[in-house]
Every structure is written in C-alpha cells, then in structure tokens.
Amino acid sequence: MLGDALVHALGLEKEMARVERLPRDNLNEFGFDPFGYSPDYVRAVAPYVLLFYKYYFRTQVFGVEKVPKGRVILVANHSGQIPVDGMILATAMMVEPEEPRMVRSMVEKWVPTLPFVSYFMMRTGQVVGTPDNCVRLLERDECISVFPEGVRGISKTFSERYKLAEFGHGFLRLALQTKAPIVPVAIIGGEEQAPSFHNARTLARVIGAPSFPITPIPFPLPVRYRLYFGEPIAFRGEPDEEDERVDRKVKTVRSTLQALIHRGLRERRHVFW
C-alpha cells in the first residue's frame, strides 16, 4: 500500500499510532457514524494529510494540552483562500494530544453540493454547520471547531491579513445552550500560503460561489503553520439572551483570539521557517 510505504519512508509511525486510537464509539456495523464519518477512511487518508502537515507545512503546535476533555468548541481564525487551516487544526488534534480527538468542523451549507469534496468532508468527520448538528455533537461530548468569520475569513486580501473579520453569534449561543467551553485557536501561516489581491465579488456571484479571490498562486505555498491554543473560556448565561449581551461575549472571544494571533505573529521569525 502506498499509504503504508509513506508512513515508513517519512517516519510517521508515532502519528499513525495516535490516529489508530481515535474513538470508535457511535459507529454502525459498517464503521460509519450517523453523520457519515469513518475512522477507517481517516486512517487511510492520514499518511497523505500528515505528509502535508508535518513535511510540507512543518506545523508547530503550542498549548494543545489546554483543550479540556469532553465537549468543547474550538474557535479559530479563517484564512488562506483554500481552507487548509481546518485540515491542519483537525490533524493537530489527532496527533498532538495524548488522547487523540476527532475534530468535527462546522462547514458551510453549500459544501455538500460540491462533488468529491462533499464526500471527503463527510468521511473525515466534517458536518454541515446547522445549530442542531452542533448541539447533537456537543451533547455527545465531541470536539467541534468553528470559524466564526465564515467566508469573510478565507477571502481576505493580503492587506487585511490576520485582521479578524466580523464574528457570527451562533457559536456563542450554542456554547451557552450546551455549556461547552470555548478554546480560541490562532492559526498562523495560512494568510501567506496564497496571497490574494482582490476578491472578485461580481464574478463570484455570476458563478454562484461565495467568494472569488484573485491570487497568482495556484497551490498553497509551503509556509510554516503555527497553531496557538488559548485558555478555555466558560461563559454563563441563557442561550436566548439579548443580542447585546451575546455580542459582548462574542467580542471577548474575538479579542482573545486577536491577542493570540498577535502573539503568534510576534514569535514568528519567518513566514517559511
């Protein structure tokens, strides 16, 4: 098998041992969870993903031990035209902590319309970001990740890099409803992987895409990815409280994440190594 050969050639045994230990509860007799996630599929694609994670992007992870056990929402900044950041984050949670965890990312509602992508997303544990899906997963004590900037985040131009766009409120109400702690995660590197100079909104509308960033780079550059996990934040309150109160909490998360991003940028000596 090519995958096995990769594992031996690149010395990915330690990482693969973690992938093998992904939780396997809630699977049906064919090895799928009700959302279509398959640990076996993840194991099959892991060597290729790890090749990028470890050798192409040479990812460094700081503070992953801060992610508490049980239900948790990872809130990260979004970047990079091609959403590699979600994959990097999920891989980090799989191979870095003592107890590997499967990150269930909340993806945009149009993702299931994309052939092959929809399939890959589903098998690797990603789910359509409806509030109900989110609550069901959190109530099963899963680890979910959200990019509250949404499409606004990935389509930033180079001049707006590492400036957080507006956050949605949904994730915070869900955190209140399920009493799940929030862990901010700063993802550094994505903004330089494919600098974009213009977001062709009209063109995007014509082809029905949410954004159409113009970038001279056809494939992500081998930037170094750095992930900074912040301290968990537990909010108290009612999921249906007024917008202003939720807004204040969202701002807390946003400013914490922005500070974490600044720290990451300060500590970084170079974009590529």
């Binding site: 049906n28 007799e29 959302f35 319309t113 052939p115 929809s118 899906n133 069901r136």
Partner: protein, 315 residues
C-alpha cells in the same frame, strides 16, 4: 353505524403490497375492512373488501354500515407516471373525504401514512430532521406537492379535532417487496449513482412499517412521528453489500440522461428525485421510539439480503 370499540379497522389502499402485508398481520387481531379501487386477489376470508375509489360517495355507506374503531389511511399514491391532476385529486380529495368521515362517524382513531420524503433531500439539511421542521420537498420537486398537502391536511386535522386521535407517520424509504422508487432502485440490474456523492441513507423494512402502523392504533397515541429503521448507512456502502454493479455518472450527465429517459418512458424515476442519491434527507425517529417503544426488528443485514443477487423487478 358509527364508532364501536370492538369494531373493524378500515384500511384504505389495502391492495398495495404494503396494504396487503398490513392486512395479513392486522386481521389476526382486529376485524379488517378494506377500501381500494383495485381488486384484492387472495383476500383472506375474514376481511371484507370494498372495491371503490375513496373519492366516491358510496364510501360513506361503508362508514355508515360497518362498526368501526379506527381507520388506517394509506391510499396515498406516488406515481410520477400518473396524470398530475388525477394524482392530486386522488391524494388530496381522497384524504379529505376519509378524514371527514372519521369526524362524522365519531371514529376515535385515524392513522395517516405519509413519508419522510416530505422534508426533501437538500444539501443544507440538518442531519436529523425533527417532526416540526418545515416540509421543503416541493421546492425542487413540484410533483410531490400533493403528498405534502396530504401531510399538512392531516396535521391541520390533528390540531382542529382533538377528539380524534390522529397519527401521521413519516417513515424513511420503505424497502422490501413493495414497488416504490427506493425498492425499484435497489432492484436495478446495474445501479447508477452520482459521481462524487455518497449521502447517508435511512431505510426501513416493510415489515417494520406494518408494525409501526399497528402500534399507532394503540389508544392514547396521537401526533406526528418520523419512523426510522436501522442505523443510517452510506449509499455506496449499501450498494456494495447488495453486490450488483454500480455505475457512477457525473451529475449533469446523469440528470440529462434521466430527463430524456423519463420523457421516453424508459424509466419511472423523475429527474428531480436524483437528489435522493445526492443529498441527505435523514430524520430523527426518537419521538416515535420514546412514545411507542418502537424499535425496528429488521436490521441492515436483512434489508441487504432482500436485494442481494436476483436483479429484475425493473424500473
């Protein structure tokens, strides 16, 4: 004669495969009266069958004459080949007539067999659709409008007439010897799929649907219920277990081919139904499980065994 606690159960649409299965099981426990415009060959001796269209006035005589304790309304057709007007009239007017008689003759229980298809397969569907979700199926597939109307009509009836225990069942794809789209699809000699898509699907064995209908007769049970069978499975994995050749076709090509084939009457699958093998339409059946203690008796293996090997049955 109106309500009689020891009276019969009227089953409309008794002559379909599912109706006959239900009748065979039901008549061991209850007296059964059949209502269908089709004949009932091999009708068990103790079942009284009236061969009338449910929209006819004469149906009232059946209600007036027979002592009745409950009605199971399953004379709801989904035949894309049928003239749209006739389809609509049969489903909507038929349902209205049956529910009206239930009211008029003080029948305390009516069970309407709808379908989880009323929610419709959509890319942005949440994974587990609950009973209070809007019925969106007609957005992309107009022909299903009357099935949604029937469901909503029964819903309105449920709210308006608290004296009648109305049960609306929305089972997931019913599979078995029945001749509906999902079963026909799984019986195809070569099974086409949409390239690059593999949604999770929920199936329920016809025997479990019969069981769900019978359970709904229990006094005190009322409401709208999703009914699910065994756990969901990816479509391709299901097809691999069934073991017949699978033909992946690119979406636009598949759609064009299906549109042409449907027009030429080479297939009975209407083009918009392609979404059923592209997007997810899964429901949460926990309410029915909680309120009625329903657990499907037939697992995925038994469902797969139904379709393994012998092709045919056709489109």
């Amino acid at each position: 004669m109106p309500f009689d606690p020891d009276g019969a159960v009227i089953v409309t649409g008794i002559c379909g495969r599912l109706g006959r299965n239900l009748a065979r099981k039901l008549h061991r426990e209850y007296e059964v009266v059949g209502l269908d415009r089709r004949p009932f060959p091999g009708c068990p001796k103790d079942i009284k069958h009236y061969q009338i269209d449910i929209r006819r006035k004469k149906v009232q005589d059946v209600f007036a004459k027979e002592p009745v304790r409950a009605v199971i309304h399953m004379a709801i057709m989904h035949d894309p080949r049928m003239d749209a007007e006739e389809h609509h009239s049969f489903n909507v007017m038929g349902t209205r007539a049956i529910l009206d008689y239930c009211l008029k003759y003080h029948i305390p229980k009516v069970v309407v067999l709808s379908s989880a298809n009323v929610y419709g397969p959509r890319a942005d569907n949440t994974q587990f659709i609950t009973e209070d979700t809007p019925l969106m199926a007609a957005e992309r597939f107009g022909d299903i409008r009357d099935l949604i109307l029937v469901d909503m009509y029964a819903n309105t009836f449920f709210w308006k007439h608290p004296g009648v225990e109305t049960v609306v069942l929305r089972p997931v794809h019913i599979v078995g010897h029945v001749h509906n789209a999902p079963s026909n699809y799984l019986r195809l000699p070569r099974i086409p799929v949409v390239m690059g898509y593999d949604p999770m699907v929920q199936l329920i064995h016809e025997d479990d649907v019969v069981e769900a209908l019978i359970r709904s007769l229990r006094p005190g049970v009322r409401g709208v219920y999703n009914v699910v069978g065994p756990e969901a499975v990816p479509l391709r994995r299901l097809l691999r277990e069934i073991g017949r050749p699978v033909v992946p076709l690119p979406g636009p090509l598949f759609e064009a081919w299906l549109r042409a084939a449907f027009r030429l009457r080479l297939t009975s699958f209407p083009p918009p139904e392609l979404d059923h093998i592209r997007y997810v339409c899964m429901v949460d059946g926990s309410r029915f499980e909680r309120d009625l203690g329903f657990k499907p008796a037939r697992g995925l293996r038994e469902i797969i065994a139904l379709f393994r090997g012998n092709p045919g049955g056709g489109a």
